[in-house]
């Protein structure tokens, strides 16, 4: 069993959820998105982000607008659509269930379940 592989699998599983949650908070430029994820210690290759965003956009979850930039070509700023919000809600519920389950299972027996924190990015 390759530990690194498992780790990256775990990280990547929540990647899309994380991206959507960032966009939900407001219009975002992809490289800013990467920076914010990096700040949260979640590394992603920019090259992976673009196809992902394009796919989400094509699926109707996201939309974008062009913004002129003085340091290069016009930038694409992504925003969430109503469909995207709905989709995000589904994902969030699944995540909460999953987090609860994982938390319950990983806690030593008999200890209180009251400690509720971490992993979930702040809304």
């Amino acid at each position: 069993m390759d530990i690194q592989n498992t780790q990256s699998q775990m990280r990547k599983g929540v990647l899309e959820f994380c991206i959507l949650s960032i966009i939900r908070q407001g219009e975002v430029y992809p490289s800013d998105l990467v920076d914010r994820m990096k700040a949260a210690n979640l590394h992603i290759l920019e090259g992976t982000l673009y196809p992902l965003l394009t796919r989400l956009k094509n699926a109707g979850l996201l939309t974008y607008r062009w913004v002129e930039s003085n340091s290069g070509p016009p930038r694409k700023y992504f925003v969430m659509t109503d469909l995207g919000l709905e989709f995000y809600g589904e994902l969030e519920r699944t995540w909460n269930e999953l987090a609860d389950a994982v938390h319950t299972l990983t806690q030593p027996q008999g200890e209180a379940i009251t400690t509720d924190e971490e992993t979930q990015p702040q809304p």
Partner: protein
């Protein structure tokens, strides 16, 4: 020191180092390839390029004068290489549910599943059958295409097979980089053009093996010919080496491969040649290898490093640029939609039909060219009898090789290149072919001129043969059975019967029948020959040996004459003129017509000496008796009957013949009769001897009686003769008894 170029990137002009530009280009290409089957490929690439442009802008704002390798490397590292996000992608996509189906093929395609045969949608000329088969077999599609083309035009079944496979096989875009090797010429390890080392890279064998295969026949050819030392004829050293059966074939094969196979110039081509997977890392490795090779070479040259290194760096940067261009042109775009309408089908059918027709035309042209070449080679054995000296031999060779051979090779090359889809970016091949052909044309013209020069003058030599006049007044002309064995007749030329290594046997012999000026038969032979001048022509005549023999009233003409080695063919010929006196008859045997080249009878009115119209043919037949009259030759229709009433010359017709014969037989009978009488006389004497007279007296009476009857009936020739012959025997027998 690095070259900096300006590029237009996402609508901005960006100064960038050339090497950095190549890296960037390769990176974008690799992304394009990676997202080949992604629905929004162009958009993704555009987004990424936009971001890169932005990063470039930031870098330039910081005060950098241009984009360096490091900047590009940094950007690529942060963006990630296709290899890096391959596994990430897989997970991301699987989460997207419905969409994953579509996109999953985009990363699946790199591993063309073996075990199922598809038509390749990515690499196709017509329907992608060959590409699919090649992918299945993991070989170079061009090889499959060549094999198909060979079958198609060799037996016609290939076309059918192709169509069947086209219909049966499902279409699918298959990756063309994985495990497909391509045949390239290897410029790094070359002796002549790198064909052998390219082949060795393709088949993954040591370089010396293909080299040996190419060279061995030549070497053995040279050795064996040294032992035979027979092909150094008349200053003619090429044929044994170049055309020594097997060696020659491989020589041509090498030439064709040289022309057909592209040279592996760029790094990616070199990788393809070795069959390694082409991605950025491996390309980088190869470039590094190149660089190291360059370094070590530069070090070797020590003192000359300055000049040499500059040269090499130039070469290297050139290689890199070309490599980038090649790489991009080699990248196949696979965004093909699986559904195509009726129009597309029609398009395909039309294309197939067109290719088929074009192929047939091309093939026919090739066959015609080959036929010319074969004909040229066919005439070639004769050349020693035509040509003089080194230059003419040289020109003959260049005519054969350049004037006839080059079009064949050029055409084959063109067809093969067409099939292989090699872009004819290199015009020099065409120009060199054209140049060689023009050289061939010139040498053909010069050769023709030189040969014509050799045939310039014409001379003749008349020779009178003494013959015995035939007693019967009739002469028979025939040709003896030939002692010359005729072989190698696959090549036929007017007037030529056979040819051996050192002699040419010609039957350029014609017969003229003319009226004699006196009452005797005369035979004259006039030998003709061409030559560069009068004396040369006469020399050629001297070498000719033509004989005429007589046996009683039959004249035997030689079947032909030979041109010995050393003498040349200069249109030699013999005209035999037979003078027939008026009133005498002549018959030409059928063999003459069959064995001599032209059987032409002059009707006697012409003065035979006036010309040598060898082609005059007056419709005289062989095996027919002719008689010479004052007005010319007349046919004797039947032995007994007069063809034409001719009162002036009774002697000439059939009646006189009969009378003569009759007279002759009468005379003979007389002689016989006299003999018999003598014998009877002797017998009488014996009988008269006085011994027992009674018995013998009777017999004597019988004998006397018989002799008397002979005397009386001397008219019936045959019976008389028989009886006359018989009677003495009878008598003698009886006497013994």
């Amino acid at each position: 020191m690095k070259k900096v170029i300006n590029i237009n990137f996402q609508g901005r002009v960006i100064p960038i180092e050339e090497s950095a530009y190549d890296m960037l280009k390769q990176y974008v290409d690799s992304l394009r390839k990676f997202f080949a089957n992604e629905e929004g490929r162009d958009e993704i690439i555009n987004d990424i390029e936009g971001r890169i442009a932005e990063l470039f802008g930031e870098s330039l704002k910081k005060g950098n004068t241009c984009i360096t390798d490091d900047v590009v490397n940094g950007i690529i590292a942060s963006m990630g290489r296709p290899e890096d996000f391959e596994s990430e992608e897989a997970n991301v996509k699987s989460q997207l549910g419905g969409e994953s189906k579509q996109s999953s093929s985009s990363y699946n395609f790199t591993e063309a599943p073996r075990g199922r045969l598809y038509r390749d949608d990515n690499d196709k000329l017509l329907g992608g059958v060959c590409g699919g088969v090649a992918n299945y077999l993991r070989v170079d599609p061009t090889i499959v295409r060549l094999v198909f083309a060979l079958i198609a035009f060799g037996a016609g079944t290939g076309v059918l097979l192709y169509i069947i496979l086209w219909v049966i096989l499902p279409s699918k875009p298959l990756a063309n980089t994985v495990s497909t090797k391509r045949l390239y010429r290897n410029p790094d390890e070359k002796v002549i053009a790198g064909v052998a080392s390219g082949i060795s890279a393709y088949f993954d064998i040591a370089v010396w093996i293909p080299r040996l295969i190419f060279v061995l026949p030549l070497v053995t050819g040279i050795f064996s010919s040294i032992f035979r030392h027979s092909f150094w004829w008349d200053g003619d050293p090429f044929p044994g080496i170049v055309f020594g059966s097997f060696g020659g074939t491989l020589f041509i094969v090498y030439a064709i491969l040289w022309a057909v196979i592209p040279e592996a110039k760029s790094a990616s081509e070199k990788l393809e040649m070795r069959g390694e997977k082409v991605d950025l890392n491996t390309i980088k490795n190869t470039i590094q290898e190149d660089l190291e090779g360059f370094k070590s070479r530069a070090e070797k040259w020590g003192g000359e490093v300055g000049a040499k290194a500059q040269e090499f760096s130039k070469e290297f940067t050139q290689t890199v640029t070309e490599k980038g261009q090649h790489f991009s042109s080699e990248v196949h775009y696979a965004a093909k939609k699986s559904s195509f309408g009726i129009l597309k089908i029609f398009g395909f059918i039309f294309k197939a039909f067109f290719l088929f027709i074009a192929g047939i035309i091309a093939f026919a042209l090739l066959v015609a060219l080959l036929a010319f070449l074969v004909a040229g080679v066919g005439v070639f054995p004769l050349k020693n009898f035509f040509l003089e000296g080194f230059w003419q031999n040289f020109l003959a060779w260049s005519t054969l090789l350049l004037f006839l051979g080059v079009p064949v090779i050029a055409f084959t090359t063109w067809v093969v290149r067409r099939i292989m889809g090699v872009k004819s970016g290199n015009k020099s091949i065409g120009f060199s072919f054209a140049g060689m052909w023009v050289l061939g044309l010139i040498s053909a013209a010069v050769l023709a001129f030189m040969i014509a020069e050799n045939f310039d003058a014409r001379a003749r030599d008349k020779q009178e043969y003494t013959i015995m006049q035939p007693a019967t007044g009739k002469m028979m002309i025939t040709v003896p059975e030939s002692k010359v064995k005729v072989y190698g007749r696959w090549f036929k030329m007017d007037g030529l019967i056979s040819m051996t290594d050192d002699s040419l046997f010609l039957n350029n012999v014609r017969i003229h029948l003319v009226k004699s000026k006196d009452s005797l038969f005369h035979i004259q032979a006039t030998k003709y020959s061409n030559g560069s001048d009068e004396s040369a022509a006469l020399r050629n005549i001297k070498e000719m040996n033509y004989g005429i023999n007589q046996q009683d009233s039959t004249i035997f003409l030689d079947r032909g004459f030979s041109v010995q080695r050393g003498t040349k063919f200069r249109n030699q010929g013999v005209v035999i003129s037979i003078e027939v006196p008026v009133g005498k008859r002549i018959m030409i045997d059928r063999k003459v017509q069959r064995r001599l080249n032209h059987f032409s009878l002059n009707n006697g009115r012409n003065d035979w000496d006036s010309d040598e119209e060898w082609n005059d043919y007056y419709g005289w037949d062989s095996d027919v008796e002719y008689v010479m009259t004052v007005g010319g030759l007349e046919r004797v229709k039947d032995n007994r009957k007069i063809d034409k009433v001719d009162n002036s010359d009774l002697d000439n017709d059939g009646a006189s013949d009969a009378v003569e014969e009759f007279k002759k037989s009468k005379e003979e009978l007389k002689k016989e009769y006299e003999k018999m009488q003598k014998k009877t006389e002797e017998l009488k004497k014996e009988l008269d001897k006085p011994i027992d007279t009674t018995q013998y007296k009777y017999k004597k009476a019988v004998a006397l009686e018989k002799a008397a009857t002979l005397n009386i009936s001397a008219n019936n020739k045959e019976e008389q003769q028989d009886e006359l012959l018989e009677s003495p025997k009878l008598l003698l027998m009886k006497m013994v008894l």
